[in-house]
C-alpha cells in the first residue's frame, strides 16, 4: 500500500466530510416532517410554504450557485401549473405523481429553449429578458382563455388520488404530506447535484467565467444545463400548487410571484441550499402573522423587515447564528457526556 501523507489524509477526509449530512441538517428535516403532527390546523399555509420553498430552491440553484439572476421563474411555475391542470381536467394523465413529473419535464423544456435568450448579456438584460418571458406567457394564457379559462382561472380540475390511494382531503393533510415528500425528494436531488463535480463547476461560473473557460469548462453548456434543471424544479412547484388546489389562475405568471422569490432569498440567503427553505418559512410566517394583526398593511411591515435585514446586514445575523450554534453544540456535548457518565455504567452491565 502507498503510505498516506498527513496532507493526503486531510484532503480525503475533507472531501468525504464535505457532502456529509450535518446534525443540524438532520434536525431541520426531522422538524419539517414533525410539523405534520405538530400543527394540524395549519396545513394550508404550511403547504403553501413547502411549495414556495421548492420554488425558491429552484431560484437559489441558478442565483446562488451559477450566478444567474432572474425575475422570471414564474414562467416555469405557470406553464407547469397550467399543464398539470389541463392534463387532469381532460383526463390525459390521471395519476398526480406522473402528471407532476411530466409537468416538470415540460417546464424544463421551456427552460432549455429560453436559456439561449438568458445567457446573452449582463445581469440587467437577464432580469429584463426573464421578466419579459414570464409576462409574455401570462398574456398568452390570457389571450387563449378558451383553453386556460382566462381571468376566471382554470375550472373543473379534478385531481385523482395520489398513486390511486391517497385522496386530496378537505383539511389538506394529504396535500401537505405530498408537498413535503416532493420537496424533500427534490431537495435530495439538488443536494447531490450541488456537491457533484458539476455543482462545483457551477460555483466557478458564478465566481469567474473567464477563468472557468481557461481551465476547460464549457461555460455556456453548463449554464444551459442548470437553467433547464432549475426550470424543471420551478415547474414541479407550480404543478404542486395546481394539484393541491385543483385550480390554476393567471396569477401563476404574475410579476409578484417572481419578485417574492427574490425576497425569500434575501431573507434566507443564497448558495447554501437552505436559504430558500428557511426564507420561505420566515416569509410565510411573517405574512400570516402580520396579516392577522393589520390585514391592510401587511406588505408595509414585510418591507420594513426587509429594510432591517439589509441595514443590519446578513453577515452580522450569521455571526449571531453561529454563536448560538456553537453554544448549542457545547450544550449538547456537555449533556451527552453527563448522560454517558450517569447512564453509561448501568447500561454497560
Amino acid at each position: 500500500m502507498n503510505a498516506m501523507t498527513p496532507v493526503a489524509d486531510d484532503v480525503a477526509a475533507y472531501l468525504a466530510r464535505r457532502a456529509r449530512w450535518s446534525p443540524l441538517e438532520i434536525a431541520f428535516w426531522v422538524f419539517v416532517f414533525a410539523t405534520i403532527w405538530l400543527f394540524p390546523g395549519k396545513y394550508l399555509i404550511m403547504k403553501d410554504t413547502a411549495i414556495l420553498a421548492l420554488f425558491a430552491l429552484s431560484l437559489d440553484l441558478i442565483l446562488g450557485y451559477a450566478g444567474i439572476i432572474s425575475l422570471g421563474q414564474a414562467a416555469f411555475f405557470g406553464v407547469a401549473g397550467y399543464f398539470s391542470g389541463l392534463v387532469a381536467k381532460y383526463g390525459f394523465i390521471n395519476e398526480p405523481v406522473i402528471a407532476l413529473v411530466c409537468s416538470g419535464v415540460v417546464a424544463a423544456a421551456l427552460g432549455f429553449v429560453t436559456s439561449f435568450l438568458v445567457l446573452r448579456g449582463s445581469d440587467l438584460t437577464r432580469l429584463m429578458v426573464t421578466l419579459g418571458v414570464s409576462l409574455m406567457l401570462g398574456e398568452l394564457a390570457n389571450r387563449y382563455s378558451n383553453i386556460t379559462g382566462g381571468a376566471d382561472g382554470l375550472q373543473g380540475v379534478d385531481i385523482k388520488p395520489i398513486l390511486g390511494l391517497f385522496r386530496f382531503d378537505l383539511y389538506g393533510h394529504n396535500g401537505y404530506v405530498y408537498c413535503l415528500i416532493v420537496l424533500f425528494v427534490c431537495f435530495l436531488i439538488v443536494r447531490r447535484v450541488v456537491y457533484s463535480p458539476f455543482g462545483l463547476s457551477l460555483r466557478s461560473l458564478k465566481g469567474n467565467t473567464l477563468r472557468a473557460a481557461a481551465i476547460g469548462i464549457p461555460v455556456q453548456r453548463r449554464l444551459i444545463a442548470i437553467y433547464t434543471f432549475s426550470g424543471g424544479l420551478a415547474g414541479i412547484a407550480g404543478a404542486l400548487l395546481t394539484q393541491t388546489t385543483a385550480f390554476c389562475s393567471l396569477d401563476v405568471f404574475s410579476f409578484d410571484r417572481s419578485a417574492d422569490l427574490l425576497l425569500v432569498l434575501i431573507i434566507g440567503g443564497t448558495g447554501y441550499l437552505y436559504g430558500g427553505l428557511i426564507g420561505a418559512a420566515i416569509y410565510k410566517f411573517l405574512q400570516d402573522w402580520i396579516a392577522s394583526l393589520t390585514p391592510q398593511y401587511w406588505q408595509f411591515w414585510i418591507g420594513f423587515v426587509l429594510v432591517l435585514i439589509v441595514l443590519v446586514g446578513r453577515e452580522r445575523v450569521e455571526a449571531w447564528m453561529s454563536a448560538v450554534r456553537a453554544f448549542l453544540v457545547r450544550l449538547g456535548t456537555r449533556l451527552m457526556t453527563r448522560t454517558a457518565a450517569l447512564g453509561g455504567a448501568p447500561k454497560g452491565r
Binding site: T5, V7, A8, R192, Y195, G199, S201, R211, I215
Partner: protein, 249 residues
Amino acid sequence: MPILETVALEKRFGGIVAARDVSLAVEKGARHALIGPNGAGKTTVINLLTGVLRPTSGSIRLAGRDITTLLPHQRVRLGMARTFQINQLFLELSPLETIGLAISERLGLGRDWWRVVGSRPEVTGEIVEVLERFRLADVMHERTAILPYGKQRLLEIALAFACRPQVLLLDEPAAGVPEAERHELLATIGSLPEEVTVLLIEHDMDLVFSFADRISVLVNGGLLLDGAPEEVARDPRVKAVYLGEEIDA
C-alpha cells in the same frame, strides 16, 4: 516539430494592428520567453493563442493540429493552459476545491452531477500532488479571497498546471509579488516538470534570463528577434528598444 506554432498571425482592431506577421515556434520541453516593452502586443498574442481573441488572419497549431478556430475551453482540453497577469481565481472556493475542480474537469467528470466530488481516489491523489508541488497544502482550506498575494499567485499557476497542459503559458507570473514571497514563487516555477513546455510572458529581465533557454522579442506587434538568451542580450536592437529608443529595422 514545434509543439506550439503560429504562422503569420495577425490581429487588427479597426485601424490598429496589434499583432502583425507573428510566426512563433515553441519547441517541446522548451523554456521559451516572450518579451517586449509595454504595448508591444504580448497580451494580444497570448489572447490569440488561448482563443480569447480570433486572429484576423494566420493560423495556430498545437502539437501539429490546427486550433485557430477552437474555443478557449477546447484548447485547454487539447493541452494548453494559461495563467493571467491579474489573478483570475475563484475567490469563494478554497485552494483544495479550486484544484479539485480543475482536475475533475480534466478527467471529464464535470458533467457528472450525481457522484460527490473526490469520490474517486485518483482525484484525491492528484489534488495532494498539485497542492504540495505549489506549496499550498498549509492553506488549502482557506478561502482564496483571504490568501496572501504570493499564495494566490502560486494558486494561479497551480490551477493552470492542474489542467495537465503540454504547453503552459505564464503571463507575468511574478508581477506584483512582494520580495519576501518572490523566492518561493520563482523556485516553484523553476521546478516545473521538464516535459511541460513553458511559454513565459514577462517584464522582469532577471527572471527571463535566469529561466528561459530561448527568447522571442516582440516590438510594435511584430517579432523583432528570436534566439538564445546570450544572442538576445547582445543584440543592439533589443538594447535600443529597452532604452526606449526608436529602432531602424
